[in-house]
């Protein structure tokens, strides 16, 4: 046993010291012969004969050396090294081919590795929490059926009851889902800057298993109503704004005018926004008290639970549902609660999952095309290398040996491609993780890690084997003198080749077809989404956070005066056409309130809910929201006057079908009269209709979490930003300009996942088209060069150049048509994968299929035309003489 081990080690070592060992052996054999000769001479032989006899008794020296090498080394590896050296030599000789092959494999593997890294991060890699598999997302099933945040969140009382009564969870924690994006204005230590602050329950971080990098978790005391403000900050904020100063813990910082003690800095690995609110940054965390007061706020919490060891999701679901029924019966005063449980990882990656699966499939198709293309190229090379191979087999190379040689070559190519691909993937993943404003979860943690690396290595070997296999199996077998003889007269040979090559090209075209159709459908969907009537006009409008400073403006009156002043100052800027205030911009946060008709009695199920927005006069004009009837708010809609409300068309239709809504009363804000009707706004997502909406005047309520000033003007964005700042500085000294956003940016963020998928898929499709056209070109021009003589004879017999050209074009188009036929069938079968990603387009959309048809036919025609023209220019005399 042990000696067997020694031998393997020794053999392995011998690989690397081959030349020393050879020299040793030579030296020994030389001495041996010399000593034998000496002895022979001593015995009385003449020197010549003595040496001859010595050499004879020694045996065949080369054979001994050969056996010696085999015994001491690892023949398998040595052959491999030999093949590798040979392959390198071959590729160096044909550098253009090698460069091209490496380039396309590189692009293919780069794309695969990038997509794999994204898939790995979003679907495979566990979340950066302790035992993430037992984390559960608990949401409320909205009774209205709408996708509004108020419906999906849960009231504080239910969380407390559920925590006390359940047996499935070791603990339940939550965060306040209606945190205002950018509502924390950090004052002092430089320029005022707005950050997003999320209130979390005291056990939120312990439950996730996130331990502070510095400092400690929130205490129960800090999580009570009315306790002094405590705050945790993200690692990024600490690094950037506080220069990684370790003494920050225990210090007080000024957030929007109130002093908060920093209790902890969170670890760099924790990024709330990346996981729970993709596309945004969350930097501050404060305790959220679970009290009667917060219970009265209604549905506010997004709940995360940790299952007890052994508890299943199904059991937890069933238990929560039955507990919820009892709780609802015991507390009729509360909002509804129908818990819906899913694994946290599924909740987070759920929305992007179909798109990722699609991209993974697409990149697989791209790799197949790359393989088909390289197979084709290698086959063409194989044909021109027949003579070389024939000579090698004449010298004793066996068929398996030759196949191994060919496979070594193709795997060498694909490995070189993989190196390039890995570089590309590094660049691509870096670019992806630095994309800002992408509403895709976990995107910032995308990177090439060990798993992606292993994937790349696997992909490289598999690719090499795949594209090398067909040409390798085409190594001529025992009929070697035929190959030797048949070096040039290629008219009959290559029939088998031609068949395989055509099949490869057809499959390339078919695969490209599938990708083009997929990309086409998504591009059309994307265009449809962008063309949707959003209800507002995002162009030439910007929004700036201008929350009233709580120390300067304490009363509602003071705040209303501030609003009037701010609006006037904005309107005074030359070039500003309209200005208005809102508490929530479209495509951002949302909340719903009851919006029943005053005096009408509803059962809880029927009670109409409407998305509510607190706005000022001028808002509709600034946003470009059309006023259908009635009037806009004015600055005289104050607490002293009658409460008014503006509703959208959907709510008007719902509450007063066929009636005039103006002058009607809605039971909100203590009863408000409808004074205007505006167009529906797509504020959830461009793909979703808006539902019922209502707008309350900002001067008649205090219930706004934030105030954005929306300004419509023809000035450039940077310009309007600085002018606004200048104009507002006297009344809003702590204004931070970092929160200036264009409305177009909001729309862009909202469609970013779709754009991401469309861009990638379109890129893949374009790459596939290029490869397919190269494939067609290679096959046709190869067949032309093989048939030069035949064409020459035909032309000598009277075939016109045009006729020859048409024939070759027809041959090309035949390939293309078969490929497209297969591709159309495949696309129709596969279109199902796309269905969830389409918008306003059918998966069998005739226009897309027609466009694909035209694109592919045109590309095939161009790819075939070049060799066809070359064929038509063949001079019969030279063609027949060259052979």
């Amino acid at each position: 046993m042990r000696s067997g081990f020694h031998r393997i080690i020794a053999r392995f070592r011998a690989l690397f010291s081959s030349s020393t060992l050879d020299r040793d052996l030579n030296q020994e054999l030389d001495s041996h012969v010399a000593m034998l000769t000496d002895e022979n001479i001593r015995k009385g032989m003449p020197p010549d004969e003595a040496r001859r006899d010595a050499l004879l008794r020694m045996g065949a020296r080369e054979s001994i050396k050969e056996q010696h090498r085999e015994l001491r080394g690892l023949p398998f590896l040595e052959t491999f090294m030999q093949d590798l050296r040979y392959a390198l030599r071959m590729l160096r000789r044909d550098a253009a081919f090698a460069a091209f092959a490496i380039l396309i494999v590189g692009i293919g593997i780069g794309a695969s590795c990038t997509i794999f890294s994204v898939v790995d991060t979003l679907l495979l890699r566990p979340l950066p929490f302790t035992d993430p598999a037992s984390l559960v997302w608990l949401s409320n099933r909205p009774e209205s059926g709408a996708h509004d945040l108020s419906g999906q969140t849960t009231q504080v009382g239910y969380l407390l009851d559920l925590r006390g009564q359940n047996h499935s969870f070791s603990d339940l924690a939550a965060y306040f889902a209606f945190y205002g994006v950018g509502d924390a204005n950090l004052i002092g230590d430089g320029q005022p800057e707005r950050f997003t602050r999320v209130p979390v329950t005291q056990n939120f971080f312990p439950l996730l298993g996130v331990n502070p990098f510095l400092g400690r978790q929130f205490t129960a005391d800090e999580s009570r109503d009315g306790s002094p403000c405590a705050v945790m900050m993200s690692y990024g904020l600490w690094q950037r704004r506080f220069n990684a100063d370790r003494s920050i813990v225990g210090r007080s910082i000024n957030i929007s005018g109130s002093l908060c003690t920093v209790v902890a800095v969170l670890p760099a690995s924790f990024d709330f926004g990346d996981i729970f609110a993709p596309g945004t940054h969350v930097d501050l965390f404060v305790p959220f008290p679970l009290s009667d007061r917060t219970n009265r706020w209604g549905n506010t919490l997004s709940i995360i639970g940790r299952l007890k060891p052994g508890a299943t999701l199904a059991a937890a679901s069933a238990e929560s549902s039955s507990l919820a029924i009892n709780m609802k019966r015991d507390h009729p005063e509360r909002n509804g609660f129908t818990p819906e449980l899913s694994y946290l990882s599924q909740y987070i990656s759920g929305r992007i999952r179909p798109a990722l699966i699609l991209l993974a499939c697409a990149v697989g198709v791209v790799m197949l095309i790359v393989c088909a293309n390289l197979s084709n190229l290698l086959l063409a090379r194989g044909a021109s290398r027949q003579k070389e191979i024939a000579i090698r087999s004449a010298l004793g190379a066996t068929k398996p040996r030759l196949i191994r040689q060919m496979l070594t070559e193709s795997i060498l190519l694909s490995s070189a491609g993989a190196v390039l691909g890995l570089l590309l993937a590094f660049v691509a993943t870096r670019a992806l993780s630095h994309l800002s404003g992408m509403a895709i979860p976990l995107l910032e943690s995308v990177r090439v890690d060990g798993l992606s690396f292993a994937f790349t290595v696997g992909a490289a070997i598999l690719t090499g084997a795949l594209f090398g296999l067909v040409p390798a199996l085409h190594v001529p077998g025992p009929k070697l003198h035929e190959s030797l003889k048949d070096a040039h007269r290629g008219s009959t040979r290559g029939v088998g080749h031609a068949w395989i090559r055509s099949a490869l090209v057809i499959s390339e075209i078919a695969l490209a077809c599938v990708l083009v159709v997929g990309a086409g459908l998504l591009i059309r969907s994307f265009a449809r989404v962008l063309a949707v009537n959003m209800g507002f006009n995002p162009q030439h409008a910007v929004a700036l956070r201008i929350d009233p400073n709580s120390t300067l403006y304490k009363t509602q009156e003071q705040r209303n005066a501030y609003f009037t002043d701010a609006l006037q100052r904005a309107l005074d800027i030359p070039g500003v056409q309209a200005a208005g205030l809102t508490d929530s911009l479209p495509l951002g946060h949302n909340r719903t309130w009851w919006a029943g008709v005053q005096g009408r009695v509803y059962t809880p199920k029927e009670l109409p809910l409407a998305f509510v927005r607190i706005v000022s006069d001028g808002y509709f004009k600034a946003m470009g929201i059309a006023l259908i009837e009635g009037r806009d708010f004015t600055d005289s809609d104050t607490p002293a006057t009658r409460h008014v409300v503006v509703i959208n068309q959907t709510l008007a239709q719902r509450n007063w079908p066929g009636e005039d809504p103006l002058g009607q009363m809605i039971q909100t804000n203590g009863g408000s009269m409808v004074v205007g009707v505006v167009a529906d706004v797509r504020h959830l997502a461009l793909e979703e209709s808006s539902g019922s909406e209502m707008y309350l005047p900002i001067r008649q309520t205090n219930d706004y979490p934030a105030v954005d000033l929306v300004v419509r003007s023809s000035l450039p964005t940077a310009d309007i930003g600085s002018r606004l700042r200048q104009a507002l500085r006297p009344i809003a000294p702590d204004l931070s300009i970092s929160t200036l956003r264009t409305l177009q940016a909001l729309v862009d963020t909202s469609v970013s996942p779709r754009r991401f998928v469309v861009l990638l898929l379109a890129g893949f499709a374009a790459f596939a088209l290029i490869l397919a056209s190269l494939g067609i070109y290679a096959v046709i021009s190869y067949s032309v060069s093989q048939r030069t003589q035949e064409i020459g004879i035909r032309m000598a017999l009277g075939a016109s150049a045009g006729r020859v050209q048409t024939d070759i074009l027809r041959q090309t188009l035949r390939l293309a048509v078969i490929g497209i036929g297969v591709g159309v069938v495949a696309s129709l079968l596969l279109a199902g994968i796309l269905r969830t990603l389409l918008f306003g387009v059918n998966s069998t959309d005739p226009a897309t299929f027609l466009a694909m048809l035209i694109i592919l036919i045109v590309i095939a025609a161009i790819a075939g035309y070049i060799p066809a023209r070359r064929a038509a220019r063949i001079d019969p005399v030279t063609a027949m003489r060259t052979e």
Binding site: H6, S31, M35, D38, G59, I64
Partner: protein, 114 residues
């Protein structure tokens, strides 16, 4: 590929080399080849070069070790000597050989049944 005769020969050659080194102390390849020829009374007609294939095998198993030195008439040569592991192997192989030889001897003594 190799026929069975050379396999048997290989095994016996290994055993012979080990035994010779054990009995005579360090020797070079030429000396070993000559010695085995003499003992075999020139009946074992092997190519002398074969000895080096045997030696590399034994070396890799760490049953023998080698050092460069000078021969009696000042030729550069590698001197091989048996190692501890080699002695163990020699004992095991010797027993093995004797057992097999015994069995074969018995088989060959069987008188033919007429």
């Amino acid at each position: 590929m190799k026929d069975s005769r050379s396999d048997v020969l290989q095994g016996t050659l290994d055993l012979m080399v080990l035994k010779t080194l054990d009995a005579m102390g360090p020797m070079h390849g030429y000396g070993l080849a000559r010695r085995i020829e003499q003992i075999g009374d020139e009946a074992l007609a092997i190519n002398q070069g074969t000895i080096y294939l045997c030696l590399i095998r034994l070396l890799q198993n760490k049953w023998i070790s080698a050092v460069w030195g000078a021969s009696e008439n000042n030729r550069k040569a590698r001197f091989y000597s048996i190692t501890k592991a080699g002695r163990k192997q020699l004992i095991a192989e010797t027993e093995n050989w004797e057992r097999i030889a015994g069995v074969i001897g018995k088989v060959l003594q069987l008188s033919p049944r007429r």
